[in-house]
């Protein structure tokens, strides 16, 4: 690695690692920062995005005019004030949600300021300095240690270590090199060493960081299909209540209750009835959902993709690196007849001391931890001549000279060891080969350990190397099954090996000897049966499958093609995160459904407050509906309006954090959420309205 550090050509303040835990409660500073936004959002065009809140805005204007017509009416002004507060609380919720994203966007934006690019001229002979914003797709730029990469692209020449903490929050540098699956670089990240040539793949303003800023700020947010459907339902409920309240005026006049059911009071009733709770929090829920994803370092190109994640019913996971650790580990020592396990373990340990590969390390670990052999290092063996692993012999080992006799120990793949034994005058290791075959049949990799000493050359036994399943995977697949999601393991292994790993990991199905075409076919087949498919991938050959899948999560370490094809990018490049993404998608929908149910259930109590208040004067029998025993008509109406406004504030943290989600079947989830938000929504306002009424009666 070269260490020279030329003067930096751009400024790249190392971005502070963004908070990863979803701190739900907005701090005082966040709140204060959001207040101006809440007022700015009063613009009718902004308000019209939510039909429910637009009606509240119109209602607030109307009551203001009505109150102004009768300026001495303190009740009228009080109702008016609380209606305006209802609108502002809703806007505040949205502004707070956006504000949290904006803080992240600020730190990102700093990384892209004033980057100067060193563009190669067409003949690649010379460099010219141009602003990063002037680059076009296909330009070649040079980046050396200390340079900020001016735009998204692929490395076409060289290898470098890159600090990507600006986008991933991870301080350890990563290697980027031309060709292969680690060629993609992101604009705004900084080269720490060496020199690379990058071909720009994104226009300025459309780079990864730009997209990320747009998403976290909520600027690029479009309503998702479920959000649209819910908005339609809320709008039609609003129309129903509008009808109920507008027609109540002639009904009241007919009943002689026109003096109580004034337009001002009816406007207050309308605002109480329409689903303001969910109407006010709907967009905050959506923004917060994206935010939760970003906090887990996943970037989705659209809210639609997040929503689709909740609907996924088939999950394709690569075996290596996702389900298993990917490197094979020593699992057991299997000696041939006449050799003890201890002898084999000791020989294996000696032969592995000079083997720096992960497999070699795992043999030592098994010998020491599994078989109680003392740990040794290279100096502890006198007269030893170490033979490190080499790719040509595919063997490692040691020759120990002890009093004139040489004891040679070798460890390696079965074929190489057999050749070595033959070369040293030994016999064909029939039994050891049989053991090796058995290990292979179980999906493991056999290594043989042989010794050549005064008794001749012979194979002592087999080390069973196994691709181990990561801890906790079985439980996660079990959780997924409960959520109704089928996992399919994708592997290049033969079906025999694949079956063993699949059974051990507890996946529902596997695809062995998988080619990219097989993967595509599998996705298409699942989709034809009506299932939504999610997968993770990083290579260029994953791109078609990522594009075909309903949720395609590209690894940040992957190629530009893969990132372009997927609809999410995981900055941590952790394929198991698919599971979390699914949970976030579900949580988003549940939060919306739960708050809608809560909002509707609230109306029951409001009727019990307002109907006696309106009509008990003319129809004394209706006072029997005043089961909360509210102090008087005006306090009752005001209490309902105030409760309605305050409940929005009270639920902002829930909207930002999302409803608690535990993986469970649909029935269990429904039962729980109905009990909490349906029954809760029924009971809470009775208590809340009564409490507010009591306070009002105390002070008025």
């Amino acid at each position: 690695m070269s260490t020279h550090t030329p003067a930096p050509t751009g400024t790249a303040p190392s971005a502070p690692a963004r908070p990863r835990d979803g701190g739900a409660l907005p701090g005082r500073a966040t709140l204060a920062a959001a207040v101006p936004g809440a007022f700015r959002k009063l613009h009718p065009r902004t308000m019209a995005r939510s039909p429910v809140m637009f009606v509240v805005l119109v209602g607030s204007v109307a009551t203001t005019l009505l109150a102004a017509a009768d300026p001495g009416d303190r009740f009228g002004w009080a109702v008016t004030a609380w209606l305006w507060l209802t609108v502002l609380f809703a806007n505040l919720a949205e502004a707070v949600a956006e504000g949290r994203g904006r803080a992240q966007a600020e730190s990102l934006r700093r990384t892209r300021t004033d980057t100067v690019a060193r563009r190669l001229t067409a003949d690649r002979a010379a460099e010219e300095r141009v602003p990063g914003t002037a680059l076009t797709v296909g330009d070649l730029v040079v980046c050396e240690a200390g340079d900020v990469i001016p735009g998204d692209g692929d490395v076409v020449e060289g290898v470098a270590s890159v600090d990507e903490s600006a986008i991933t929050g991870e301080s350890a540098p990563v290697i980027r090199e031309s060709g292969g699956d680690r060629s993609a670089v992101t604009g705004g990240t900084r080269v720490l060493s060496d020199r690379i040539v990058v071909r720009i793949t994104a226009r300025p303003g459309e780079t990864f960081i730009d997209r990320m800023i747009g998403l976290v700020e909520g600027a690029a947010r479009q309503k998702t299909p479920n959000e649209v459907a819910l908005t339609i339902l809320l709008a039609s409920l609003t129309v129903v209540f509008l009808l109920a309240v507008v027609t109540l005026r002639p009904f009241a006049l007919f009943a002689g209750a026109g003096a109580q059911a004034t337009p001002l009071v009816l406007t207050a009733l309308l605002v109480c009835l329409i689903p303001t709770t969910i109407g006010a929090l709907l967009s905050a829920i959506g923004i917060a959902g994206m935010d939760r994803l970003v906090r887990r370092n996943v970037l989705a190109v659209s809210g639609r993709a997040v929503e689709a994640a909740g609907d996924v019913s088939t999950l394709l996971l690569d075996k290596t690196g996702t389900i298993t650790h990917g490197n094979r580990m020593a699992h057991a020592f299997l000696p041939v007849r006449g050799v003890t396990v201890a002898e084999l373990a000791a020989a294996a340990q000696l032969s592995s001391l000079a083997d720096e590969t992960p497999e070699g390390r795992s043999v030592l670990r098994l010998a020491e931890d599994g078989h109680g052999l003392p740990a040794r290092d290279l100096d502890a063996v006198p007269g030893a001549d170490w033979i490190p692993f080499s790719a040509t012999t595919r063997l490692s080992g040691v020759d120990v000279t002890d009093g004139g006799t040489v004891r040679r120990i070798r460890k390696g793949a079965a074929g190489s060891v057999a050749r070595w034994v033959r070369d040293h005058g030994g016999v064909e290791p029939v039994e050891a080969d049989r053991i090796a075959d058995r290990v292979a049949a179980q999906g493991g990799t056999p290594l043989q350990v042989a010794v050549s000493d005064t008794e001749g050359a012979r194979v002592l036994g087999v080390v069973h190397l196994k691709d181990t399943v990561k801890d906790g995977m079985r439980e996660r697949f079990e959780e997924l099954r409960r959520m109704g999601i089928r996992t399919v393991m994708i592997t290049g292994d033969n079906p025999l090996t694949a079956r063993v790993v699949a059974e051990e990991a507890g996946v529902d199905d596997f695809l062995a000897e998988a080619t990219p075409e097989d993967k595509m076919a599998l996705i298409r087949r699942e989709q034809a049966e009506g299932r939504l498919v999610a997968m993770a991938g990083d290579g260029t050959n994953d791109a078609p499958a990522l594009a075909q899948a309903d949720v395609g999560v590209a690894m940040n370490t992957g190629t530009a093609a893969a990132k372009e094809a997927g609809n999410m990018v995981d900055l941590d490049s952790d394929p198991t995160k698919l599971i979390e993404i699914v949970e976030i998608g579900k949580q988003l929908l549940i939060t919306r459904g739960a708050l809608t149910t809560f909002s509707l259930a609230n109306d029951v109590a409001k009727y019990f407050a307002i109907i006696p208040a309106l009509f008990a004067a003319t129809h004394p029998s209706l006072d029997r509906l005043n089961i909360m025993d509210l102090a008087g008509p005006q306090t009752a109406i005001l209490a309902a309006v105030i409760f309605n406004a305050l409940v929005i504030v009270a639920l902002v943290p829930l909207a930002l954090r999302g409803v608690r989600y535990r993986p469970a079947g649909a029935d269990a989830l429904l039962r729980r959420n109905l009990a909490v938000y349906g029954l809760g929504g029924l009971v809470v306002p009775f208590l809340g309205i009564k409490a507010v009424d009591w306070l009002l009666a105390l002070f008025l």
């Binding site: 299909p225 819910l230 339609i232 129903v240 027609t247 909740g310 579900k586 509707l600 129809h619 429904l670």
Partner: protein
């Protein structure tokens, strides 16, 4: 035997009979609408009308059929009434005035059977039997056809075709309604309901003076009036008239006929979508609502407050002694819960809360169990909304029977559910706000308000029963109620068929452990609560000023 026990026994017998009958009948209707075979008589009809029976159409084609058939039906019925004086079989009655003829034509074609006239003093044999009774069959068959089309929307995948309206209409009439009505008419005749074509008899009364008795094909009209959830009686007194409903047994049998087809159609739904559990979940919600309100009704009517009810052992004002409180209460809940609108008692004379129950049964959306076909499609549309809310709460894009409920489906379902509340509330508001209409009221105050609210509820929900007390034969009521009936019938059909079209075009998504299960008691509970909450929130303020104010005063 005390009267309350009699009520409970009648209710039990009724539920038992329905439990036995709905299954074979529901299966039969499913077979009728999936069979490929045409009967000879059906082929004759197709040839006469010029329909190719094996050609299926999309939802717009299906809707064109429904609309054309309904509007032509209205025009024909209008002409029959307007030309009554020159046509044979008039019994000497004059022509019907235009506003009343419009109202009556719309009323019978929309399966409402609101009657602003007295049958025996206005309509001759031709209009009664050739016009009104024919629509008794056809309007019910149209409702059934639309329901079957919506069920096909759920059952079919990736197709534009919803079936053939003309085939569904003819089969529903020929293979379901006609044979059932014939059997029912025979039972009614056996009970003592009249069936003849004789004229008007003037009969001397015991204390002097004469009484006028009409003959007529009453049993045949009565059978389909109830089976088709029509409700338009031969006589003004409807099922309170001894020629229409002579005995307590005939009364119970009539309640059975009212509930039979709406209940059986849930079985048809289950069969056609390939899971009878789904049908039972829907039936469960209908049943819980109906039985709960029937129980409440028995309670309020048996314990009516005031000196008269206490002496009579129940609120007997306006009820026939031969049916008693229980027979009248069950009939009232059945007729208002099914968009039938036949009455065997004076709903206006029920206790305040009892009158409220009859209104709530209608305001639920005529889905407990609702009219023939209309009840099923109404409940399925309600289910779409319930599934949407519940589906969100389990964290998936909501799906009902494997079909996604996206923006388009929700838009259509919400519009369908908006229509009738809008008609009821706006109609009532206009009637109380404008100076002329209230003149027709018998009562003022809360009861007068109930009369008007009931009239518009009954019309918009296509029920047809009246709270009485309101003289609705004025140009204002004939016209506005006529429009309410027409829009209350056709607009939901438009939305239901559009919904069917967009569902049928979808692929089916397989159910997983993460999918909301809709064949469970939990879902039945949700489906029971949803219409209660939605219609409760819509109508409580209006109900408060009418029946609630009255009922709570007691």
């Amino acid at each position: 035997m005390n009267a309350q026990l009699a009520g409970v026994l009648q209710l039990t017998a009724l539920l038992g009979a329905l439990a036995l009958a709905h299954r074979p009948l529901g299966d039969h209707i499913a077979d009728v609408h999936t069979s490929r075979r045409h009967l000879r008589v059906e082929r004759l009809v197709y040839r006469a009308v010029g329909v190719r029976p094996d050609a299926e159409v999309g939802w717009t084609g299906y809707l064109r059929g429904v609309l054309a058939f309904s509007l032509v039906g209205i025009a024909l019925l209008y002409l029959l009434q307007r030309l009554q004086d020159v046509l044979p079989g008039s019994l000497g009655f004059a022509t019907i005035p235009p506003d009343q003829a419009f109202n009556t034509a719309v009323s019978f074609v929309t399966n409402t059977n609101w009657q602003s006239y007295s049958g025996e003093q206005t309509m001759g044999h031709l209009v009664q039997t050739g016009g009104l009774a024919v629509q008794h069959f056809l309007s019910a068959a149209v409702g059934m056809a639309v329901a079957v089309a919506l069920v096909r929307g759920f059952a079919r995948t990736s197709t534009g075709a919803l079936g053939n309206f003309w085939v569904d209409l003819v089969r529903g009439t020929v293979r379901v309604l006609l044979p059932l009505a014939a059997c029912a008419a025979l039972v009614l005749v056996a009970c003592g309901v009249i069936q003849n074509l004789s004229g008007i008899h003037h009969v001397g009364q015991f204390l002097g003076g004469t009484q006028q008795w009409n003959g007529g094909a009453v049993a045949s009209q009565e059978a389909v009036k109830l089976l088709g959830t029509n409700g338009g009686g031969y006589f003004n007194a409807n099922s309170a008239h001894p020629f229409e409903n002579p005995t307590p047994f005939s009364n119970l049998f009539e309640i059975f006929l009212i509930l039979l087809l709406p209940v059986a159609l849930t079985r048809t739904f289950g069969r056609m979508v390939g899971s009878t559990r789904q049908g039972y979940a829907v039936l469960g919600a209908m049943g819980v609502l109906w039985v709960a309100f029937a129980g409440l009704m028995l309670l309020t009517e048996h314990h009516g407050a005031g000196p008269a009810p206490e002496l009579a052992g129940g609120a007997m004002e306006g009820k026939e002694t031969r049916f008693g409180v229980s027979g009248s209460a069950l009939f009232a809940v059945a007729t208002t819960g099914t968009s039938t609108g036949a009455v065997n008692a004076f709903h206006s004379s029920f206790t305040g809360l009892g009158g409220g129950i009859t209104m709530v049964m209608m305001q639920l959306g005529e889905i407990a169990p609702g009219g023939v076909g209309t009840g099923l499609y109404g409940m399925l549309i309600t289910a779409v909304i319930a599934v949407f809310l519940a589906g969100l709460m389990v964290g998936r894009t909501p799906e009902y029977l494997g079909k996604r409920l996206g923006p388009r489906e929700i838009k259509l379902a919400a519009c369908a559910l908006l229509v009738t509340p809008a008609l009821v509330l706006l109609g009532t508001a206009a009637a109380v706000a404008l100076p002329t209409p209230p003149d027709a009221m018998l009562n003022g105050g809360a009861h007068g308000f109930s009369e008007i609210l009931y009239a518009y509820t009954s019309a918009a929900q296509n029920n047809g029963s009246a709270f009485a007390g309101l003289s609705a034969d004025t140009p204002w009521y004939n016209t506005t109620l006529g429009l309410a009936m027409l829009l209350g019938r056709l607009l939901p059909i438009v939305f239901a068929l559009a919904l069917a079209g967009s569902l049928a075009a979808q692929r089916r998504r397989p159910a997983t452990a993460g999918t909301l299960r809709t064949g469970t008691p939990l879902f039945t509970g949700l489906l029971t609560a949803t219409p209660l909450v939605i219609s409760g929130l819509t109508f409580v303020p209006a109900l408060a000023l009418g029946p609630l104010a009255e009922g709570l005063a007691a």
